[in-house]
């Protein structure tokens, strides 16, 4: 299947790249949104990053098609990631690095975006329900922060970026079976941490 993709890229030129890229776009946006530093939100639009990434991808597509070591999406994601890193550096200095910081640091408690956002998308029935959920999220963040980096990254790739197992394996540079086992192990560990939370089982089972 990946061969077909590469063939299409070689044959189709820029149009093919654009087509495939727009297929990927929702997932890329998702990735950028989740990885973008909170302080940059409002200043940097994720679409801008993706657009910048696209320019880079179009420029370097020949490098990829001549030697495709990973799936196309994994490569596209990698370029986007690098763009994201450079945007962070530009705005926040050399040391800044996009990661899960946003999710692992609890949002500023003085800002109650949660209620507005959730109310507006109509998911919410009551403020106390929202608060309870917010509580769960906070605990989830905490649980995640206690896990080791690879476990956490596997979970982020699978659930936040919604990558498949093979893609995760490529991104992490490990075998597919290893990636799968790694994921299962990570989710079990998370389960262990979450099991200590009151009522977690009944609420999410």
């Amino acid at each position: 299947m990946e061969e077909e993709v590469i063939k299409k890229l070689i044959d189709g030129g820029d149009t093919a790249v654009a087509e495939l890229f727009s297929e990927f776009q929702p997932r890329l946006e998702r990735m950028v949104e989740f990885r973008l530093d909170r302080r940059l939100r409002g200043r940097v639009d994720s679409l801008d990053i993706i657009q910048e990434a696209y320019i880079e991808i179009a420029r370097r597509i020949g490098d990829y098609t001549s030697n495709p070591t990973v799936a196309f999406y994994v490569w596209v994601r990698q370029i986007t990631w690098q763009t994201l890193v450079s945007v962070h550096r530009r705005h926040l200095g050399q040391k800044r690095h996009p990661n899960m910081e946003v999710r692992l640091n609890r949002s500023n408690p003085n800002e109650t975006t949660f209620s507005i956002a959730e109310a507006l998308v109509g998911q919410l029935t009551s403020p106390s329900g929202a608060a309870r959920r917010q509580e769960d999220y906070d605990l989830l963040r905490e649980a995640l922060s206690t896990m080791d980096d690879t476990d956490r990254e596997v979970l982020a790739l699978r659930h936040f970026e919604q990558l498949g197992n093979n893609e995760v394996a490529d991104v992490l540079g490990i075998g597919r079976t290893a990636a799968s086992n790694r994921y299962v192990r990570a989710i079990k560990r998370l389960g262990d941490v979450l099991a200590t939370l009151p009522h977690f089982q009944e609420r999410y089972s």
Binding site: L36, G42, L47, D136, L140, H159, G191, L194, Y204
Partner: protein, 1065 residues
């Protein structure tokens, strides 16, 4: 993405499918997976819940980001114009949209333009809400509400325009006053300019973010106001009354009219200057300290906000998001309520989904968590805002939402004064009431809150005090060392009763208030008739339920109060033969509050409670009316004790009336009769203390008649006891209060300290002598209650009338005979009671007092032998009681008081020596009492009296040095009492007496300067006292006496003191 499954963990494969279904919006069941894959059951259960959680979290994050992106996209299409509006700059953004500063081109006025985010506006519901917000807000015209000019839509952008307020949100002011400049300094090198820039305008929701300065360097140089200026306005500003342009003005001119703007700049110019100079953080130290001005300014702006809310509530508009960030302070110190953006129009219930969350969690009222909002929710939010302005920190600091909600629903914020003692107590009280957890405990309307804040500003008592009866009650209990002397259980019980009672009572009142308010609104013919009716029905039901509860609490509370008052009352007053051994308390075993001090606050507290007692009593509950009447009597007791005799008498009469009504319904209830008699006696005591002796005699006679002439009463022990008391009181009427001392003074005063040349000994009759004790006098004033003879000091009596009306009833020839017979009867009754129950300490005490009264009678009728026996008997009984009950100070107090009793009119030297011995013993007893119970004024007073007695005796014995020392010791005790209890004439007179005595000794020691000093102090005191009681001729006479003496001292021949008896006739 189309991963093969062969090389994957089976749980991973299943989990992937599970996650995918969740993403599609399905709700897959974990149990189904377990059923389909029993071999993996354990692993599925261990992993799927976590997967579900991760997915849910992921979706939530995604939603938020998308939403934010949509909002931020709005600005990337840099808006320049929108309809008639020229956009100047962005001033803030929130969940619903962005606020710009703009100019309305046609009218050339500066406006704040609120633009709804396109993403948000996509929802029909949001557009509806947005338009409704504008409509609702546009209808409000109030000096403290940011006016809304209009609403519009252009290029798919919905917006509305409102007056541009050159102000700073209070949230920033609070942060600044609290001292966290770093948050503002972050806004860049442009310093206060960019700071002002970001603080200038209304901000929508909490999610306020400044725009990146590098991208939008627009700074309006006309900006005059910044957060430091606002803080200074609050800290030091003295607010000019409403300098605000009227609504019409602001329509014709731009937001803050240009002239106002100039003024405003001028007003803060010094501030701005100091700002530029003190650009460094150290300059902050120049910020004025928080003082009363700050508290008052806070009260003022919150009063204005409350008034604005009241106005909007009356127009059916709830704000629903009151918080510091939505209150703008402009440079004139005027506060503006902005962002009615979340307001729900009450008559459009259907449109707003009640489940929607609006407002900010931190300031939301607990009931809003359940989607319920009403005007009291806004009051609550304002209460928390007030709290934060005063405490400079949020009322609830918890930032996690769950705990925050549970804190709010279950607890009150920490007491403001526990955070800062400087915060005025009244403001604390008002805040507490405004943010009570239970809506019913809050102010019923924002107007009430505004009024209470204004009462604080006018230094008038605030009404919120009513809500804190609990607190008062607890404070009362704490102040009274009941807490120290009672067992823990009793204390707890008391506190519980107090709280339960106060809460119940307040709820009831609140419910009644609701009914009342609803009614008045109905009468106003206002809209929302149906709602009012429903609310009224609910309120009435609530009120009825609360009545039932309050009834029970009331009974408990009265009982608790009774036991305390009884314990206090049982101490008696020095120089008073009154004893208040309760009918019921006598039988009550258990600890007593020996060290309780009653103050005016106690009387006020009880009076407050009484208001509610009366309400309940009005519900036709016989039992409650009894409680109410009893409680009223208790108020009288306290007033009596505090020397507020006129008030006491009035209160007693109300109580009496209530008891008479009860009695007429239950004619056979002898206890009611006894209580009535008792109240008559109390009225008599109050009357005699005020110097209206004949009225007092009448009242005692009424008590006696009631007891003797109502069938069955004299068959009861309590009836007999009360009659014995009545008789005792009747015979000693002239000796209670400072009056007797005054009366005797008119013929025998400290100036006659030297041994008399006429052979009469000193002071023999100064304490207990009744003025009209001539044999020809008539014992009753029944027939001539109008003939107040209290001022009678002429030895010839001078009473008109042929015979005592009482004599026809009682058959006595004269006072002497009546007194002796009454005393005999009193003793007989008590002996009879003791025969039945020989161990009753209250009977024994009453017997001792009867003997003591007999000693008084003996002196009045001039029977020294009778007096000697009586005093000896009284002392003997009290000695025994003090021995049997060593822990009970009451008996030692009475013993000491009895020891101070003068033996006879003309004691021989032996008798004087014996008296001096007794006085010394009394002093020792008092010393012990004062040491053990340092807070009891009566003990100090008695000790003072004992010392005065000793001093007088020493004076008579020419022992001037010791006498002076004794007087000084007495004064040391008497002066603070006189100052603390300005209305208790007993304490005043005792103090004045000692001053006079000391003055006379100074003369004897040839120190006329000191003598004049003491005497003038005494005269000053007495003048104040007699002014407060102009009807008391005794005091007037006393004052004349002292002034005359003062005149004599001024003369060179002052040492040759004229015989005072000459002045007494």
């Amino acid at each position: 993405m189309t991963d093969t499954t062969a090389d994957r963990n089976p749980i991973d494969v299943l989990g992937d499918e599970f996650a995918a279904r969740l993403r599609e919006g399905e709700a897959p069941s974990i149990d189904d997976y377990v059923a389909r894959h029993p071999d993996l059951a354990e692993d599925i259960r261990a992993t799927f819940p976590s997967i579900a959680m991760m997915e849910k979290f992921s979706r939530k994050e995604h939603t938020e980001r998308t939403f934010e992106r949509q909002t931020s996209r709005l600005i990337s299409d840099s808006l320049e114009t929108l309809g008639d509006f020229q956009i100047i700059r962005e001033i803030g953004r929130g969940g619903m949209g962005i606020v710009y500063e703009a100019v309305e081109k046609s009218l050339k006025r500066r406006v704040a333009l609120k633009v709804l985010s396109p993403g948000v506006a996509g929802s029909q519901k949001q557009i509806q809400r947005f338009n409704r917000e504008a409509e609702a807000a546009a209808r409000l015209h109030h000096t403290n509400i940011v006016p809304v000019y209009g609403v519009g839509a252009e290029r798919d952008l919905h917006f509305f325009a409102m007056q541009f307020i050159d102000g700073v949100p209070l949230s920033d002011v609070i942060r600044f006053v609290r001292g966290r400049p770093e948050e503002h300094e972050r806004s860049g090198p442009s310093g206060s300019g960019s700071l002002a820039d970001r603080l200038l305008a209304p901000i929508t929701n909490a999610d306020f973010r400044p725009r990146d300065q590098t991208e939008n360097p627009t700074i309006d140089s006309t900006r005059c106001f910044n957060v430091e200026g606002a803080a200074k306005v609050l800290l030091t500003g003295t607010h000019k009354d409403r300098p605000l342009p009227s609504v019409a003005d602001s329509d014709s001119e731009s937001s803050v009219s240009s002239s106002n703007l100039t003024e405003a700049i001028a007003a803060v110019e010094p501030t701005l200057k100091s700002l530029t100079i003190t650009d460094d953080p150290a300059g902050r130290s120049q910020l004025p300290v928080i003082s009363m001005k700050y508290w008052r300014n806070v009260a003022r702006i919150c009063a204005d906000v409350a008034a604005a809310l009241h106005y909007s509530h009356r127009h059916g508009v709830l704000h629903r998001d009151i918080k510091p960030a939505n209150l703008l302070l402009d440079c004139q110190g005027i506060v503006w309520v902005t962002d009615f953006g979340l307001a729900r129009h009450e008559d459009q219930e259907g449109i707003t989904n009640t489940g929607d969350i609006v407002g900010t969690l931190r300031y939301m009222a607990p009931e809003q968590f359940n989607g319920e909002s009403n005007n009291r929710s806004d009051i609550y939010s304002l209460g928390l805002t007030l709290y934060e302005l005063l405490a400079l920190r949020p009322a609830f600091e918890e930032s996690r939402h769950g705990p925050l909600i549970s804190q709010k629903t279950s607890s009150m914020p920490a007491g403001l004064r526990s955070i800062n003692r400087e915060i005025p107590r009244d403001l604390e009280t008002i805040t507490q009431k405004a943010c009570a957890t239970n809506p019913a405990d809050r102010y019923a309307t924002a107007g009430e809150l505004a009024n209470d804040l204004r009462r604080f500003l006018d230094d008038r008592p605030v009404l919120a005090r009513r809500a804190t009866i609990t607190e008062q009650f607890i404070r009362w209990a704490r102040r009274n060392p009941v807490v120290a002397s009672l067992s823990g259980v009793t204390v707890t019980l008391l506190a519980t009763v107090a709280i339960v009672f106060a809460v119940g009572q307040y709820r009831t009142q609140a419910a009644l208030d609701i009914v009342e308010n609803q009614k008045s609104e109905l009468e106003d013919g206002q809209a929302r008739l149906d709602q009012s009716l429903i609310a009224e029905r609910n309120s009435s039901r609530l009120a009825r339920a609360e009545y039932v509860r309050a009834e029970k609490n009331l009974q408990l509370a009265v009982a608790a109060f009774d036991s305390i008052i009884d314990n206090v009352a049982s101490r008696g007053l020095p120089q008073s033969l009154t004893l208040n051994i309760g009918d019921d308390v006598s039988g009550v075993e258990g600890p007593r509050a020996y060290d309780t001090m009653l103050t005016a606050a106690d009387a006020d507290l009880l009076e407050t409670l009484l208001t509610f007692f009366d309400d309940f009593a009005g519900q036709n509950q016989t039992d409650l009316r009894l409680q109410s009447a009893s409680a009223r009597k208790r108020v009288g007791d306290i007033q009596q004790r505090l020397g507020r005799f006129s008030e006491a008498e009035a209160t007693y009469r109300q109580s009496l009336e209530a008891f008479e009504t009860l009695s007429s319904q239950k004619p056979n209830d002898s206890q009611l009769i006894i209580t009535r008699a008792r109240i008559h006696n109390e009225i008599a005591i109050a009357a005699s203390r005020r110097g209206t002796m004949w009225g007092a005699v009448d009242e005692h006679n009424r008590a006696r008649s009631l007891l003797q002439e109502t069938a069955g009463v004299m068959d009861t022990a309590n009836g007999k006891l009360e009659l014995a008391r009545t008789l005792g009181l009747l015979t000693t009427i002239s000796s209670r209060s400072g009056m007797s001392a005054l009366m005797s003074l008119t013929r025998n005063d400290p100036s006659s300290g030297r041994p008399p040349s006429d052979g009469r000994s000193r002071g023999d009759n100064r304490r207990e002598r009744r003025p009209n004790d001539q044999p020809g006098d008539r014992p009753s004033g029944n027939s001539r209650p109008d003939q107040e003879r209290s001022g009678q000091d002429r030895p010839d009596g001078g009473r008109r009338g042929s015979g005592p009306s009482g004599s026809s009833r009682n058959g006595f020839r004269n006072w002497s005979e009546m007194f002796r017979a009454s005393s005999d009867q009193s003793l007989a009754l008590l002996n009879e009671l003791l025969e039945q129950e020989p161990s009753r300490p209250d009977y024994r005490l009453e017997l001792a007092i009867a003997w003591r009264n007999r000693a008084t009678v003996a002196r009045i009728i001039n029977d020294p032998e009778m007096g000697k026996v009586a005093i000896a008997s009284a002392i003997q009984h009290l000695d025994e009681l003090a021995r049997d009950f060593p822990e009970d100070p009451v008996y030692r107090f009475e013993l000491a008081d009895t020891l101070c009793l003068r033996p006879s009119r003309n004691p021989d030297n032996e008798a004087v020596d014996e008296f001096l011995q007794r006085i010394r013993r009394a002093i020792v007893l008092c010393e012990d009492l004062v040491e053990r119970y340092p807070n009891v004024p009566e003990y100090q007073a008695l000790m003072g009296t004992s010392l005065t007695h000793q001093a007088t005796l020493l004076h008579q014995q020419q022992n001037f040095g010791l006498a002076a020392e004794s007087f000084l010791q007495a004064i040391e005790l008497q002066q603070p009492l006189a100052e603390q209890f300005a209305t208790v004439s007993l304490y005043q007179v005792a103090y004045i007496q000692s001053l006079w005595g000391l003055s006379e000794i100074s003369i004897a020691q040839n120190e006329p300067g000191a003598a004049i000093g003491y005497l003038e102090t005494a005269i000053d005191r007495l003048q104040i006292l007699s002014t407060s009681a102009p009807q008391n001729r005794m005091l007037q006479h006393y004052l004349e006496k002292l002034r005359r003496r003062r005149g004599e001292l001024a003369r060179p021949s002052a040492e040759d003191v004229p015989n005072p008896t000459a002045t007494a006739g």
